[in-house]
């Protein structure tokens, strides 16, 4: 978008291209570009520079309501159930989140409920060792709900502040795996009333429109309370959070920006909207 020039059709195509390339999706892009054209017709924006400014403002306004942090001071143990499709960064995000809680002097316990994937428990154990935290685990192939039960019980017994549970990656289209997740949730609720207090969905910034399908399906099945968008240190922009904000209004808690323990930062509507068009 060339700065300061009077607006023409090409300018709108430029913003349309930017939004689509950012994975905002066709529908949301249409809505945003249409509102921009309205502003232009009403003389509220005059130059191509106005387009960029107006778009950033509009997106920030859209995202501000979902810029909400996890309320971990509300309950003890505060139970976080981490879910998401395969390979998005659940296990790594748990380590990063545990690190944040450890830094604010909270007692954290981890639960290795991925009893399916090869070396999933070992992976979480390596992180736990680095964090100097315990992991509740069972043998490979055991019932993940049983691990969740033991971990929740242990969290109560040990006076833990935050319990974070890792689960196996699962495609939202696999009915039996979604049923397994519902069972894990029920087992936790039976053990601690109101738990899990945070059902945290991890999504990958490199994914496209399928992310919307993931969020909708997981939300319908489990009632998600928070989202983390990972791998924003790549070139993908994660624009799908625009339709998520617009349609589902689920809070974005953090964004993942790397593979190290410190690479998790609180979601900022302002920073995100700027990065989208930057």
């Amino acid at each position: 978008v060339v700065k300061g020039k009077p607006i023409d059709e090409d300018a709108f195509e430029g913003i349309e291209e930017a939004l689509i390339l950012a994975d905002a999706g066709f529908e949301t892009t249409e809505i945003l570009v249409a509102s921009l054209k309205e502003k232009w017709k009403r003389g509220q924006i005059k130059t191509t520079e106005d387009i960029q400014t107006s778009m950033i403002e509009e997106v920030e306004k859209l995202l501000l309501p979902i810029e909400r942090h996890i309320p971990t001071d509300s309950k003890k143990p505060f139970v976080i159930l981490t879910i998401g499709v395969n390979g998005v960064g659940k296990t790594t995000t748990i380590a990063k989140l545990a690190n944040i809680y450890r830094t604010s002097k909270k007692k954290v316990l981890l639960g290795a409920c991925d009893t399916f994937r090869a070396a999933a428990v070992e992976q979480l154990e390596v992180w736990a060792k680095r964090l100097d935290m315990d992991v509740i685990k069972h043998t490979e192939g055991s019932d993940p709900a049983a691990v969740a039960y033991d971990a929740t019980k242990a969290a109560k017994a040990r006076g833990i502040d935050v319990l974070i549970l890792d689960t196996a990656g699962r495609l939202h289209t696999k009915v039996n795996l979604m049923e397994e997740m519902k069972k894990i949730k029920r087992v936790i609720t039976k053990e601690v009333e109101g738990a899990p207090h945070e059902i945290l969905l991890i999504i990958d910034a490199t994914n496209g429109q399928n992310t919307i399908s993931q969020v909708k399906t997981f939300h319908e099945a489990l009632n998600i309370t928070g989202i983390v968008v990972t791998k924003l240190d790549g070139t993908a922009k994660g624009g799908f959070i625009l339709p998520i904000a617009h349609l589902l209004k689920i809070p974005i808690r953090y964004i993942g920006v790397g593979e190290k323990m410190d690479d998790l930062i609180p979601f900022s509507a302002r920073d995100f909207s700027r990065a989208l068009f930057g």
Binding site: E17, I20, L21, A22, D23, G25, F26, V85, N86, G87, V88, G89, F116, R117, A118, A119, E122, Q123, E125, V126, W127, G169, L171, H172, T173, K174, D204, T206, N207, G208, Q209, N210, T211, S213, K231, D233, G234, T235, A236, F240, E259
Partner: protein
């Protein structure tokens, strides 16, 4: 569905005789929306639709009883053409041990796919060696070792090495000494914009001189597929692609984008977490899936 939407746009064109640039606009727009919703890259979709426009204007679509269906058939055929008409199998020709190198972004499914390829080769009567060169991810080597154990396939690893190139060297020597005819080299996930890591895998490739360097990419990948595939192809060089996690409901438009910008064949698709969940790529099935 796309077919229904196209039938309705063509209903409006009844009696117009031949298709022209102007009256084809709506139909092309409908296809464009379908492609973008399927994650086909913005620019790739644009170029693709230009090709479709030429083909459609050259044919007498309106004289058909079902012009919408005719139109879709042209789009479908163009997609199949772009995706590669002939399935290209895994190339493991050459003097043993034949190296196959896997690379890709974090979490794309490389380690699991390495196991799947090992099973495929073992079933074909070959003696593959899995090589673990991901020295970064916690328990990555354990993961590959466990997969090898499940398959009864040998895994080469150096637990205390932090040097993927050194692991490759020792693995090759080990393979030659012990009669392995194929080496499937798993690598760490890396960003295409991480120069150090890109250089690392390029050096591994230089040493190994693989018969196949395969880009493992998640079928859910969005618009970024173009940037990713171009970067890896230009900076490292790839011979083929494996598209993973197609057992979900992603439309998989990334396949189109990647084919368009690299011209490299999609050799396999991953359709599950189990080690037998690897299938040869079929362009017609992918084309139908993308069109929804």
């Amino acid at each position: 569905k796309l077919q229904e939407r196209l039938e309705s746009t063509f209903k409006k064109l009844k009696g117009y005789g031949k298709l022209s640039e102007t009256n084809i606009k709506d139909s092309l727009r409908e296809v464009r929306i379908a492609l973008l919703e399927a994650d086909v890259n913005y620019k790739v979709a644009k170029d693709f639709l230009e090709k479709v426009k030429e083909k459609v204007l050259g044919e007498d679509v309106l004289s058909s009883i079902t012009p919408g269906q005719q139109f879709i058939k042209i789009v479908y055929n163009e997609l199949c053409e772009l995706l590669g008409k002939v399935n290209k199998p895994l190339d493991v020709a050459g003097s043993p041990p034949v190296p196959v190198l896997l690379l890709g972004l974090q979490g794309s499914g490389k380690t699991t796919t390495a196991g799947k390829l090992a099973l495929l080769l073992r079933k074909k009567g070959r003696k593959p060696l899995l090589v673990a060169t991901d020295v970064y991810r916690p328990a990555a080597i354990d993961q590959l070792i466990k997969l090898g154990a499940q398959l009864n396939v040998a895994v080469f690893s150096l637990k205390d090495s932090k040097d993927p190139l050194a692991i490759c060297r020792e693995a090759k020597a080990y393979a030659m000494k012990n009669g392995f005819d194929t080496m499937i080299v798993d690598t760490a996930g890396r960003l295409h914009i991480d120069d150090g890591m890109v250089e690392e895998v390029a050096n591994q490739k230089k040493f190994l001189n693989p018969r196949e360097t395969l880009l493992i990419i998640d079928a859910m990948t969005g618009q970024d597929a173009v940037t990713i595939a171009t970067a890896f192809n230009e900076k490292v060089g790839i011979d083929g692609i494996i598209l993973t996690k197609l057992d979900g409901d992603t439309r998989g438009g990334a396949a189109i984008s990647i084919r368009a910008v690299t011209g490299k064949p999609i050799k396999f698709i991953g359709v599950g977490e189990k080690l037998d969940a690897l299938e040869p790529f079929h362009p017609e099935r992918m084309a139908s899936r993308i069109l929804g």
